[in-house]
Amino acid sequence: MGNSLGYLTREGLRNVLHNRLMSLASISVLFSCLVMIGSAFLVFANLNAMIGSIEAQNVIMVFVKDTSTTKQTEQLGVEIRALLNVESCVFVPKEEAFQQQIDQLGSAAELFEGIDNPLPDAYKVTVADMNNFQTTVKNIEQLDNVLRVRENSDLASKLASLKSAATYISIGVIALLLIVSLFIISNTIRVTMFSRRLEIRIMKSVGATSWFIRWPFMLEGMILGVLAGLLAELAVWGVYEAVSRSLKGLLSTLGRSGALPFSDYWHILLAGFLIIGFLAGAVGSLFSMGKYLKEQECAGIDEE
């Protein structure tokens, strides 16, 4: 079959050009689906990053005993930083803490004027992994010179569950889009093949094996799939840059410095697009052709 390979390849290429309507339709549909999947992926990546940055704002306040010396206080800071799961640890002098309390009260703050500062010195600790939040709190409580630990474990658990919810939803939505896309693509290919069933039947009646017929169709599918993947990458890139630029103002209001850079994601997307496109094209045409390639069973089946 060495001679055939060249022919089959040329034939696949020729098909792409010859059936322009079909090619265009297949590429368009695949392209649309990939763009949707890619967009969903980027939206969820950003959402995750956003939740992450909110998480970073969830801090543990560690109040230092009034009785401890400056040295002891510093020692405590070192010990906290040495703990696993501690990402940052910042010293907050009591004056600053009091001022923050007052600020939090807004314009009612002046009511506190003249009151003695009842607050102790403190450390502001952020954790790396929210899921081990409680353990970290426990560890800190066991250190020397700790007066009391203030933590918002409620918010922490909320954020943790929000994050896992976002992850589940992202995976769910992308999986759904993938399924829907495969469904749409396979239907498009089925219809395309249907319109070429005559051709397939003729080839069979001249003595072509199933694989000889399949090859050019599969190759055609692969080429179209890869083309659609490349186009989708370009489209998603363009749209993402445009949208993230126009949303920049909004994101900064929400406390984020901007959308994630596309350059961090282009290779994942491209790889995904090419794999999906390639497989959809190859496997899609492989399966949707099956029906038209079938030979009649031997004697007897016509009778029922």
Binding site: M1, N19, I202, S205, V206, G207, F212, A299
Partner: protein
């Protein structure tokens, strides 16, 4: 060798197209199949090429038993024959050249051999100037001749032709049958369905007459004619002063300028097989 033993073909919609047909065609024979429209001629051929499967009975083609032929073997089985289809079956997206070449490509012939052989068979059917045309740019007769050229491409030694002369003028019809005769002389078995009884009468070959799915006559007309007075109108209704079939008059047929002489020698070394 083609052997039918009590073959019946019933289509899914209930039509019985062939009824208990038993016959044997020896290697190297030339057989005409005639019969009225709907008599089952095409069905007979479709069974031979295993496009349809018999409802009952046994069909053997050369070394293949079609009742036990596995699906995997079918393509290889089909390559042992050249088929001219009644509805031409040209691939609409390929031009004339590629349609003919396709039959050689499926068997993995070398591109060089293909070029030689295809150019040759296309010239044989007089379509050299149309080699780059698409099927929908051809007249009915031209399409039929492409189908013929494709059947010849592989130099198969079993030729199955379903009305290969239905869309061409009488002169060309004669040329086509003469071409088949040459192939036959070279050893090929030829089974040809035709309506043109005047054509059949020119040759002293076996004629199988189908009527309503059954074989009603089988033999060489000149020898049959006196012995079968009961069923005369099936072939001999054509107007004219000839009450019985012509005797063979091979010397009277005009062979045209188409170079059929070297067909069997064939360029392209037996089609690359």
């Amino acid at each position: 060798m083609i052997e039918f033993i009590n073959v019946t073909k019933k289509y899914p919609n209930g039509t019985v197209a062939l009824r208990d047909v038993s016959l044997k065609i020896d290697p190297g024979e030339f057989v005409f199949v005639v019969g009225a429209s709907g008599a089952g001629k095409s069905t007979f051929l479709k069974l031979i090429i295993r496009e349809e499967v018999s409802s009952s009975g046994i069909i053997k083609i050369n070394k293949y038993n079609l009742n036990t032929l596995s699906k995997r073997e079918i393509p290889y089985f089909r390559r042992t024959m050249g088929v001219v289809f009644q509805d031409f079956r040209l691939i609409p997206s390929m031009n004339v050249y590629d349609n003919v070449a396709f039959a050689m490509r499926v068997i993995g012939a070398k591109e060089k051999d293909i070029r030689k052989r295809v150019t040759y068979v296309i010239s044989l059917v007089g379509l050299s100037s149309k080699a780059r045309c698409m099927p929908n740019e051809l007249s009915g007769g031209e399409q039929q001749r492409v189908s013929l050229a494709r059947a010849l491409a592989n130099n198969a030694n079993l030729i199955i032709a379903d009305e290969p002369t239905g869309n061409v003028d009488p002169q060309m019809s004669k040329e086509i049958v003469d071409l088949f005769m040459r192939l036959n002389e070279g050893g090929a078995t030829v089974v040809m369905v035709t309506h043109e009884h005047s054509l059949v009468r020119c040759y002293d070959k076996r004629v199988i007459i189908l009527e309503n799915g059954s074989v009603v006559s089988d033999g060489i007309p000149a020898r049959l004619a006196p012995s079968e007075p009961a069923k005369p109108p099936a072939v001999e209704e054509t107007p004219g002063p000839h009450p019985k079939p012509y005797l063979p008059r091979r010397q009277g047929t005009e062979i045209t300028d188409i170079p059929v002489a070297d067909l069997l020698a064939g360029s392209g070394k037996d089609g690359g097989r």
